[in-house]
């Protein structure tokens, strides 16, 4: 559906060229939600603007539904853009227009007749649950409501793809969740493919099928969400994971615990695999597992459990226990101290 191949974007500046996006490859399949996560300055905003050519790539190819965008005429590019909706961190609504007009204006400009415009505005305002606000102005709405209007505006063109540029970054956690639920609903009920960028790991956790970790303009890690959450490889990825779970223990605590045993992180898929395994380990190998932190993360399609345990016992027995856990499909990872 969306395919970026060897995409590079270089911005010339006074102090030499800045490579914002470096040789990125990305492939979003129809009906999926893909997320790009990275810190500010990683090149996320540039990357998502390369998809609908708001930024022209320095090199590489962008294709949507098999159509190569970089060689299209301006007129054809405009037509292609109509099939790609976009929502933004700061909503980007007309301040001087009502909710109704904010959705109707682009439709009118794109040549839809009055009746069709009215039909669509009403339909999509209903989908985003804002039918009662159609005569309000954006300044009278909350952040979440503004984003809903922006989503309705994007949907009203009945796009196949939705690009989301930090759509929840300006919202409080509760509103963020309601917007994420709405995006999920759009994805599931309307079958719209979504590519989003974010710096919030909970966005990835909640709605993404597939994840790219972007750093300094390069994709340093990419995998399905479940794989990323159970088996993160890069340091940056782990740091992002630390932001949503109490994974992190202080180094001094870990060092202290390590004096008599090991500190290990167990990651497993599904909600109730952890607990029974630990009692089995205790019985079988005579070690004492002590749970330091535990949490369950609900991903879009799976549940990932995370336990950090302190195993006290003979070195050999500990080793055998970990092997046993591995064999049961639990990922084990020693937590580093000093």
């Amino acid at each position: 559906m969306i395919k970026l191949e060897n995409i590079t974007k270089v911005f010339p500046s006074k102090n030499g060229n800045v490579t914002a996006v470096n040789n990125v490859n990305l492939h979003v399949k129809k009906g999926e939600i893909h997320g790009v996560i990275g810190y500010s300055g990683a090149g996320k905003s540039t990357l998502i603007r390369l998809v609908n050519l708001l930024e022209k790539p320095t090199s590489g190819s962008v294709s949507i539904n098999g159509t190569e965008l970089t060689t299209l005429s301006p007129e054809k590019l405009r037509q292609t853009r109509q099939k790609v909706g976009m929502i933004f961190q700061h909503f980007n609504l007309l301040k001087t227009a009502t909710v109704y007009d904010n959705i109707a204006t682009p439709l009118k400009l794109l040549g839809y007749d009055k009746q069709e415009v009215k039909k669509r505005v009403e339909k999509y305002l209903k989908i985003v649950d804002l039918s009662d606000k159609q005569n309000s102005y954006p300044s009278q709405l909350s952040g979440g409501q503004k984003q809903r209007v922006a989503i309705a505006r994007a949907l009203s063109q009945e796009p196949e793809i939705l690009l989301s540029d930090e759509a929840t970054s300006a919202l409080d956690p509760e509103t963020t969740n309601s917007i994420l639920d709405l995006l999920l609903k759009i994805n599931e009920e309307l079958g719209i493919t979504i590519l989003l960028i974010t710096h919030e790991m909970n966005v990835i956790q909640k709605i993404c099928d597939y994840v790219y970790v972007l750093e300094n303009g390069e994709i340093i890690e990419q995998s399905s969400a479940i794989e990323l959450f159970t088996n993160p490889r890069k340091h940056t990825t782990k740091k992002f994971l630390d932001t949503i779970s109490q994974r992190k223990l202080s180094v001094s605590l870990i060092s202290q615990l390590k004096l008599n045993g090991t500190v290990t992180r167990l990651t497993f898929i599904g909600e109730n695999t952890g607990q029974p395994l630990l009692s089995q380990v205790s019985q079988k190998f005579g070690v004492e597992p002590n749970i330091l932190t535990a949490n369950i993360m609900e991903l879009k399609n799976d549940i990932v459990g995370n336990l950090v345990i302190h195993l006290v016992g003979e070195q050999e027995q500990i080793h055998a226990s970990l092997e046993f856990l591995n064999n049961q499909g639990v990922t084990t990872e020693e937590v580093e101290g000093e």
């Binding site: 980007n92 301040k95 001087t96 400009l109």
Partner: protein, 220 residues
């Protein structure tokens, strides 16, 4: 008081009409030239839809040059051009040309400022939706800038009224001319006061009208 009104009302009335004529006609043409000029300055700016360094700097130069000349000098400086354009250099007709040339670049600048205030994100959103640049100018940029444009035009109108005061120099009459000829040259202090009073009312009226209109269009 009654005698004053009877004596002066026709003359003051005539002056008011002349001032209105000059202001309305010049404002009309100044907008006609200034607005597209302002839009062009914004659009040819680096990074904008029609980015063109040469045209952008040329337009800036022209606007700055015209804006640096005081009206009273401009009035005489372009006499041959005025003559060429409208066939005369005196009367209301003769003063319209310098008034337009004086006001249009000012309006262009004010419009430029207003348009630059429009949130770039909204423009980007419309671009992303596949809306044409021409439509974005009308339906996003000018629309969103309306309150600010109205305030800018109010300022331009007030400064235009000021400029018409000098129109008397080419025999175009008007309130400023009345105050100068009768009030100053002939020491008719009453006329001076009356004229100034009318001018104050006029400027106040225009400013509050502009403010009110802008406030009504502004929705945030």
């Amino acid at each position: 008081m009654e005698a004053f009104i009877q004596n002066w009302l026709p003359i003051i009335g005539e002056s008011v009409i002349e001032t209105f004529q000059m202001v309305i006609i010049s404002l009309f043409f100044a907008i006609l030239i200034g607005v597209p000029l302002g839009i062009l300055v914004v659009l040819t700016r680096p990074g904008q839809a029609l980015a063109n360094k040469v045209i952008y700097q040329l337009l800036n130069l022209v606007i700055n040059v015209v804006r640096s000349i005081p009206f009273i000098i401009l009035l005489f400086f372009i006499l041959p051009f005025t003559k060429f354009l409208v066939g005369t250099t005196i009367g209301v007709q003769g003063v319209i040309v310098p008034l337009v040339i004086y006001t249009a670049p000012y309006i262009a600048r004010l419009l430029e400022t207003s348009l630059l205030e429009v949130d770039n994100g909204v423009i980007e959103a419309y671009k992303a939706m596949g809306v044409k640049t021409r439509q974005i100018i009308w339906n996003v940029m000018l629309r969103e800038a309306r309150p600010s444009i109205i305030l800018g035009l109010t300022i331009a109108t007030v400064s235009l009224i000021g400029a018409t005061a000098m129109a008397g120099l080419v025999g175009a009459g008007g309130l400023g001319d009345l105050a100068y000829r009768f009030g100053h040259l002939r020491y008719e202090v009453d006329v001076m006061y009356a004229t100034v009073f009318i001018l104050i009312i006029l400027v106040q009226g225009i400013q509050s009208l502009g403010n009110r209109l802008a406030a009504r269009l502004k929705k945030d």
